[in-house]
């Protein structure tokens, strides 16, 4: 006798599918991400307003801010943060827009798409080192052109890297942010049926670029607005890139705040906290400014659309767009090549384009330490990524099963750890963790990494996960499979490629983290990135080359695996080839 014919069988079934806490996961995920941010902000705000119980200070006051205002470098450092952030973001967005408007759907665009992953996975610090060596007056470009073309028998005394205006810093940021915004734009293009819209507009007599700007850009921008904000907040507050490429007389505000945190004088801790609060306010202000800019551009755009001007051809922009994108890509790749060469160089002085000899000495010297650090970096990244994947898939599955769909506001919350400057909450978090007696070893660092890895994993996996044809699930249910079996046996295998890609993204993000590893690890946890940045203070290009290459490899390898594994596993499955 089967169950269905047994009288009353239906009554014994619980009215709801087994939840087992899955429905609590979205809230838990937000707590995992926002808890540290909120706690850290509190830990920063209190000392900024003079409260530091550990030093016997309990009376709130504005002394820290007065002290901050008394620092002579403040006006310049503040302006520098604003200027470099806004300029880098605007330029990156302009390049991406030009490339997409001029070249979407062409073979050139396909090449751009293919180069994205490797460029994206190059950690910021490694890219910055490479660019620094490339463009310095005694750098690779000058060496190749000297002295036969430039007549520079000795390197010219030009202030190119670490210039007080922050131009080198802006260039370094652009080179890394263009690939990121490009990726986001490509994802958005798929959702707005850009090709067809452009075709329609073209049939109405508009040129391709004009058509793209008028009918595609507004919809694409709505999709990439949050990533653009992330780029803005990041560019204003980045520490490792600014240490390498940014000015020092004075440095940007965030770099200075980190220096104060490292000072043995407790008073500077208060000043650092006040600086961090100022940094936070700066980011909020810059985001507001950017929003106003958006409104202005939108108003101008509407007038343009209304005017019906078809616009003369924008053909001239096309080569410029390609040159800019190629330039920023080449800067990263050539810079890495330069670092690779340094890591095997014998004596190599200006103006030789190549070293006098090649030697494996550097690698032999660093191999044992590199292997150890790489293993630690890998463990941190793997565990943080796994945790982020579990939480992300859990959230998305809860969304699917219980309709707990993220609201727009929740999406903002997801981005919050990427929008709040790291210097504004990590020092506070470090202090709180110490006071709570929490361990500050590997586990704490991993937990801190999850905060930054999770948003990227979520953003990377969210769309493909939701785009999955849920009728496959319906069929599988109808065939007798429960929700868990559908998830494990149907959905996840079908989504193997995007899951692995999201994992690779998460891994690369973790590998690239500098401040969380440094501050939360208390110096005991060393990653390839913290080692590379510590070496940067020494300036031994051979060592930096070896570490930066190892760092890049650590980030790149998972991307290669994410591409290769689905191809191997599903070699015989044509239906998944384009998934």
């Amino acid at each position: 006798m089967t169950e269905a014919t047994r009288p009353g069988a239906a009554l014994r079934v619980r009215p709801r599918r087994g939840r087992r806490g899955l429905h609590l996961l979205p809230a838990m995920t937000l707590a995992v991400m926002l808890g540290p941010v909120a706690a850290g902000l509190l830990g920063t705000l209190a000392p900024a307003f003079g409260i530091l119980p550990a030093a016997g200070l309990v009376e709130p006051g504005l002394g820290a801010f007065r002290d901050l205002l008394g620092w002579p470098g403040l006006p310049r450092a503040t302006l520098l943060s604003l200027w470099t952030g806004l300029a880098a973001t605007a330029a990156s967005l302009a390049i991406v827009t030009m490339i997409a408007a001029c070249w979407q759907g062409t073979r050139t665009f396909a090449v751009v798409e293919r180069l994205l992953s490797p460029l994206l996975s190059v950690p910021h610090a490694a890219a910055a080192f490479g660019i620094a060596f490339l463009i310095a007056p005694s750098g690779w470009v000058a060496r190749v052109l000297s002295p036969w073309l430039t007549r520079w028998e000795r390197p010219p005394d030009l202030l190119i890297v670490q210039d007080p205006a922050g131009l080198a810093l802006i260039a370094g940021l652009i080179a890394k942010e263009v690939p990121f915004l490009m990726l986001m734009t490509i994802a958005a293009l798929g959702q707005v049926e850009a090709r067809r819209s452009v075709l329609v507009a073209q049939s109405l007599g508009y040129g391709r670029e004009t058509a793209w700007l008028q009918v595609v850009l507004p919809r694409v921008y709505a999709q990439i607005r949050l990533p653009v904000y992330v780029v803005l907040a990041f560019s204003m507050t980045v520490v490792d890139v600014a240490v390498i490429l940014g000015p020092n007389t004075p440095p940007t505000l965030s770099v200075q705040v980190v220096r104060w945190i490292g000072d043995p004088d407790l008073a500077l801790r208060l000043r650092a906290a006040a600086g961090a609060v100022l940094q936070l306010a700066l980011v909020v202000g810059a985001l507001g400014l950017w929003r106003l800019g958006e409104l202005a551009v939108a108003a101008l755009g509407r007038r343009w659309v209304w005017s019906g001007r078809r616009g003369t051809s924008m053909r001239l922009v096309r080569p410029i767009a390609v040159a800019m994108a190629a330039g920023s890509g080449a800067a990263v790749l050539l810079g890495l090549a330069g670092l690779a060469l340094w890591s095997v160089a014998g004596f190599w002085t200006y103006p030789d384009a190549l070293p006098e000899g090649l030697t494996l000495r550097t690698w032999q010297r660093f191999a044992p330490a590199l292997a150890e650090t790489a293993a630690e970096t890998g463990i941190i990244a793997a565990v943080a990524t796994l945790a982020a994947l579990v939480l992300t898939i859990g959230c998305l599955e809860a969304e699917h099963r219980y309709g707990l769909r993220m609201t727009r506001r929740a999406m903002w919350l997801l981005y919050l750890p990427l929008l709040v400057p790291q210097v504004a909450f990590l020092p506070g978090l470090q202090m709180l963790m110490l006071q709570a007696g929490a361990s500050t070893g590997l586990d704490a660092v991993i937990a801190a990494h999850v905060v930054f890895v999770l948003p990227y994993v979520f953003l990377s996996l969210g769309d493909p996960f939701r785009a999955w044809d849920s009728r496959h699930g319906t069929v599988a249910h109808a065939l007798g499979a429960g929700p868990d079996r559908v998830l494990w046996a149907v959905r996840l295998p079908m989504l193997l490629a995007p899951v692995l890609t999201a994992a690779a993204v998460g891994f690369a993000v973790s590998v690239g983290q500098y401040l969380p590893t440094l501050l939360i690890g208390g110096g005991r946890v060393q990653s390839l990135t913290t080692e590379a940045v510590a070496l940067a203070s020494g300036g031994d290009r051979r060592a930096i080359g070896a570490y930066a290459l190892a760092q890049t490899a650590a980030a790149l390898l998972p991307f290669a695996l994410a591409l290769a594994v689905p191809r191997l596993v599903f070699a015989q499955r044509r239906g998944l080839r384009h998934g």
Binding site: R17, D469, H477, P493
Partner: protein
Amino acid sequence: MAEAGLRLDRLAILGAGGPMLRLDLIVAPGEVLSVMGPSGSGKSTLLAAIVGVLPPEFRLEGRVLLDGRDLTALPPERRHVGILFQDDLLFPHLSVAQNLAFGLARPPRGAERAAAVEAALDEFGLAGYGPRDPATLSGGQKARVALMRTLLSQPRALLLDEPFSGLDAELRAQVRGLVIERARARGLPVLMVTHDADDAAAASGPVVRIGSDARAG
């Protein structure tokens, strides 16, 4: 005592804007009932409600009974209601045989499962296709595998969601004939939603119209 067949007992589906659909009907074993209506009339939502995957923004009133058993509170995997869509929806990561084994009810167990899958392939004229990648099959072959997979799960009712509209005219008649014949042979109540009068006619069963021209039903 238990009334055989699929019964929608004063079933109402309520969306955010109020009632969307009300039905009260019974499909007898071996009978094919066609539900017709324009797009947006809630045909697919109706099937989702019967299978048990109604999106959370909808609410259900009334009951769904299968052979007298109330399905309303059961999870979809325990309802024993099979469904076929316009697309074959074979799992692209599994081979043809793995797709069938996914559907095949237990028992059989162990080695007998392979034999059961082989037998089904034989029966549908697809012997030797087991290891194939579903993406390499023709449209008709895919439709047959999808039907086979559903039947192997021993459903007690079959739902069809515009099942033939993706096929060309000749294949359409062929596959339609096969599905209806197999369902009848097993005495399954079949509920088909379609917007094609041909399908409804070929089913030679009762027709219910929903949506704006519901009066005609």
